[in-house]
Symmetry: C2
């Protein structure tokens, strides 16, 4: 055989070996199978979820419940076998809900109390509250058209519904949520004295769904509350019969000086590239009216579970694998920003970061904020998940707590669970432990652990 041919043979052998290690090796399939077996037959994560929901309910940043959740997840990471566990100090706002009343009075129709919930970070009314007429609008354009002469001194009622025709419920949410986040700031420009916002949910129910509201730095800050969708429908009907009805609105919530809380971090040190980090995270804070089961204690226990499963099965990752419980996703995202800033300061390289903040219904896939060859490689590993009926590997993903890592070129990944029922729970008292199915939760834990394992193994 000529030298030239030997070269070709060697190249061919090398290529075959490389390809087979990616495509034909049985090892990853077996490991993934054992990850699912472990997740589906162990109840640790489910009991952790129960604890967080029932014992640290309403763990809004800066609250005693949030401190308890921080300590509980810290201990959970230690029990899971993490090589090291630590807290990362995070500045957080301190806001407290007060008394709440929304009583609509009509000389024609009588009166009715609507279920409301102050929006996070909103200013309050006096204890006596305010009594004013209500003007209903669908969006900011309508606000502009009505102008100061129709709005000044009134309460603006934002009533644009969630579009249930959109199959992806996160699109429905996106189309409705600016009323909540910016409604108060916009209405204040025209002299409104408060806003009542239809809850950002496609469900017709009597739960107010809260969430953060943001004021313009130099604008007037006016009280803002969410009303349940049933309440919104009623108010809208009454306004059609009696546009002169008045509303007595009380919301004695209050902002206090900023305080401190913590991100909770646990890791398994990488055996070959300890300075490269792959993280899976979720946020440990929750709205004060919620157990925060789907949003987002479920995501947190899945991240802890990833550590537990790696340790239990003796998986030794090449890179450092981290579980990160971010504080204060809901109000101002300081947990995510602090994490990225400290990573930069310490020169930590984040190879990939996953966020689970879309509920813990059955996993259907992952979204990857990537392009080109890297995206292609990531989409190809969907085949490993087909036996688990997890088929939707798409471009997209990310999440608000990991987005500050994008600046360092980190691959961002978002979990994509079945989405149809998420907004029935989101930011409301309906987001309870009972709404989580143990098996769906654990299918998600296994999917996340398997994905992180593959990204590390195959250098994706």
């Amino acid at each position: 055989m000529r030298r030239f041919e030997w070269d070709r043979v060697l190249i061919s052998v090398a290529l075959t070996l490389i390809l087979s290690s990616y495509t034909f090796s049985q090892e990853p399939e077996k490991i993934i199978r054992s990850v699912f077996d472990e997740a589906l037959t162990d109840r640790t994560a489910y009991f952790q979820l129960e604890y967080l929901c029932k014992n640290t309910k309403g763990r809004i940043p800066g609250s005693p419940a949030a401190a308890e959740a921080v300590e509980y997840t810290r201990q959970a990471l230690i029990k899971a076998g993490a090589d090291s566990v630590w807290l990362q100090k995070v500045p957080v706002p301190h806001w407290e809900r007060g008394k709440e009343l929304c009583r609509i009075h009509s000389l024609l129709l009588g009166y009715e109390d609507l279920n409301i919930s102050a929006l996070g970070l909103s200013v309050g009314t006096s204890v006596e509250g305010i009594i004013a007429k209500v003007v209903e609008v669908q969006d900011f354009d309508e606000l502009k058209q009505l102008g100061k002469k129709n709005i000044e001194g009134k309460i603006v009622f934002f009533n644009r519904p969630f579009d249930n025709k959109l199959i992806n419920t996160f699109s429905g949410y996106s189309g409705a949520v600016n009323q909540r986040t910016q409604g108060a700031a916009e209405a204040a420009k025209y002299g409104a004295i408060a806003v009542i916002v239809r809850s950002a949910t496609g469900s017709l129910d009597n739960f107010p769904h809260t969430g953060v509201c943001r004021y313009d730095q130099n604008g007037q800050k006016i009280p803002a509350v969410a009303v349940s969708t049933i309440g919104a429908e009623l108010l809208s009907q009454w306004l059609k019969s009696d546009p002169d009805l008045t509303t007595h609105l009380v919301s004695t919530c209050k902002n206090y000086p900023d305080t401190w809380s913590y991100n909770v971090i646990g890791e398994i040190e990488g055996s070959q590239k300890p300075n490269e980090i792959i993280s899976a995270g979720a946020h440990i804070d929750a709205w004060d009216i919620a157990e925060g089961a789907h949003d987002d204690a479920g995501g947190c226990v899945q991240a802890v579970e990833m550590i537990r499963i790696f340790k239990k099965l003796g998986i030794k990752p090449k890179r450092t694998i981290r579980a990160v419980m971010f504080m204060n996703e809901e109000m101002s995202g300081t947990g995510g920003r602090t994490y990225a800033e400290e990573a930069k300061k310490k020169g930590e390289l984040h190879y990939a970061a996953l966020e689970a903040d879309r509920g813990v219904m059955s996993p259907r896939g992952f979204g990857f904020d990537a392009d080109g060859t890297r995206l292609e490689k990531l989409l190809n590993i969907a085949s490993y998940f087909k036996p688990y009926n997890i088929r939707d590997f798409d471009k997209g993903g990310g999440g608000s707590d990991i987005s500050p890592l994008k600046a360092q070129g980190t691959l961002l990944i978002g979990t994509m669970p079945e989405s149809q029922r998420y907004f029935y729970y989101h930011h409301s008292a309906n987001d309870t432990f009972e709404q989580v199915n143990e098996r769906e939760l654990q299918m998600g834990s296994a999917a996340t652990a398997s994905l992180i394992y593959l990204i590390d193994l195959l250098d994706l």
Copy 2:
């Protein structure tokens, strides 16, 4: 141009037209979009489900609740706009639950009452019940090994758990359910005087999950009950500590002479091939301890909803489209058999039949009991459902109520909803209206209506 070439051009044009009508026409996509729009913005089906769950709870064949459910769905089909609606007489068993007690007594451990539920069609004990020792087994092989000398005069406790490692929960169920269906018949062969069967669920909960049990025609009929999985775990633990513990079992259920009930049928007459029928069905009966929301009032209201949507949108099918509510799926399947027999008698050609009996969680796809070209064509229409994230079109499917139609060559189809949480509800008091999400239910209604529309339109 030569004659020869003209032929080729004509063939090419004809092929293009045929292909384009299948592949490129925008019409089906638009119709399907409007089907989903209608389903996701109308609440009729959800309110019907609430009525069936709350007002006809426990609608076991032959019961007054079953009669009410028959009449309610008959009226629902009329309101939905069906061209004709009728009842089809079905012979059904008449079985009634009695008093139930399962008290385990141990001289070492004290006593405990376990949550049980008599199995459907099982014989009862006397009012005083029976008191006997318990022998725990995993399967029929173990029963055989133990033999008459260890079993005679005792209660056999079948405690083989549902395998939670199986991703498809229906496989987990299949692996456990023969203890329930045949356990009494098998144990009786060795002189057992009753059986207690671990509930066929992967959930560790305190709901007994009932279901039918079948005796050998010439064998001894002994009482049979399901025990909750928590009860089963407790009993098993106690038996390890005290194999001599006794159980006081009372189950005064009783079989009465057969009676009559009805299948409920509504149809839209076909505009071109009225003698060819495409049906979508589910079963209207439910276990006496359940609201039967997922199993299977949800499937029924989806079938009614298909009729309502076709009428509302003015879809005029070529073939006759039927919604069929089968009676007595749970106990002896006489509804499905009667339906197929009458179809044969009348010379009705069933082109395709769909059954929805796997819960009404989010639809993930359909299973088709087909082969070759027909299967290939059916799998190809998955592309129409991709915008709705319904991607799993596979060989498989069917269902027990439509299986008697197979003899006439009917294409059998089964709905394949998200399966992870189904057996948390199945055959238990946990199968309630509250466990159904409105949007998931209606995604399923739209998927079924769209599939039936396409099968008719494209002659699949």
